[in-house]
């Protein structure tokens, strides 16, 4: 099974990286890009029987390691690798 974990800064938390990328895109002429937020993306290949098991493991991993709950939140999608 493959779990995909998206970790993003909470909306109220300042994202200097996203801001810098947005500035760069504006400089390159992409004025239509209003806002950019940058996050992390993990693909976990998991030995699991069911999607439920894989999701459970991935969310434990996210809680413990992949995301910092003080400033980040995460979302998980599970599918076949």
């Amino acid at each position: 099974m493959r779990a995909r974990v998206f970790v993003t800064l909470k909306p109220s938390v300042f994202d200097p990286q996203g801001t810098t990328v947005a500035d760069a895109l504006h400089t390159l002429g992409y004025a239509a890009v209003r806002n950019v937020r940058q996050g992390k993306y993990f693909e976990l290949d998991i030995d699991a029987q069911t999607a439920e098991d894989a999701r459970k493991l991935a969310s434990e991993a996210a809680d413990k390691l992949l995301a910092n709950p003080v400033i980040e939140s995460y979302r998980i999608e599970v599918g076949n690798a």
Partner: protein
């Protein structure tokens, strides 16, 4: 001899390169702002270390779009000597002046320490004052210096003798333990096919005086002065 030191927002070894050229080497150095479009008649271009644009997206990714990079490209196309140090090397990779890309160090950490590099090629403007196989002690300071290129590209680099520096032991042996960051083939620095553009992760400008631990890096700057005075290189003014 006039050296242009390009300053990107976030460059932070610009003063070090300037100091090495102006006060240790005794040549003329001038800062060139990244928004400028002219290199001001420089004979040598240095892209210094640092964190251009914070390195926020990828090292060097944003800097390559700076207006000055067109002038740097033209200067290189005309055969002028260009040295990219650390972040400057990363900018050259992103800009396509040198092949390949950088990955995070395999330690996944920033590393600052002295390392040994072996001079693999003396046939570049920045190594001609070195001995073939000479081992230099120069510091590194980077989090993303793990050089990568596709196997075919690495093959070609080796065949064309474009690998200029390799991480080795003090005795000049290429070992995995001597590789600080996981770079393929222990590559610490390379040049383009034309051999006038050189990039390396270690900081020669930090190794120009014994007082700060090593003067081995001065050889790179001595080299380019010699290359230009001997007319080995066409100046690209």
């Amino acid at each position: 001899m006039k050296f242009a030191v390009v300053v990107f927002p976030g460059s932070n070894c610009d003063h070090d390169a300037y100091y090495a050229v102006e006060h240790v080497l005794g040549q003329e150095a001038a800062f060139v702002w990244h928004k400028d479009t002219s290199l001001g008649g420089a004979d040598v271009v240095v892209l210094p270390g640092g964190f251009a644009h914070g390195d926020y997206l990828r090292t060097g990714a944003i800097a390559r779009f700076s207006p000055i990079m067109q002038a740097v490209q033209a200067f290189a196309d005309a055969g002028g000597p260009v040295l990219g140090i650390c972040n400057g090397f990363q900018v050259l990779l992103e800009a396509g002046l040198l092949p390949g890309a950088m990955l995070r160090n395999r330690s996944v950490k920033f590393q600052c320490e002295h390392v040994f590099v072996r001079v693999e090629q003396t046939h570049t403007p920045f190594t001609m004052a070195c001995r073939q196989g000479q081992v230099l002690r120069i510091p590194i300071a980077h989090g993303e210096g793990n050089y990568y290129a596709e196997p075919a590209v690495v093959e070609r680099l080796e065949q064309n003798r474009q690998v200029v520096f390799r991480y080795t032991t003090a005795a000049g042996e290429v070992t995995d333990a001597a590789n600080p960051n996981g770079s393929v083939h222990n590559i610490a620095g390379l040049c383009n096919e034309r051999r006038n553009v050189v990039g390396l992760m270690p900081h020669p400008e930090r190794a120009c005086e014994l007082a700060v631990g090593s003067a081995d890096g001065l050889l790179l700057f001595d080299s380019v002065v010699r290359a230009l005075t001997q007319g080995v290189l066409a100046t690209a003014r």
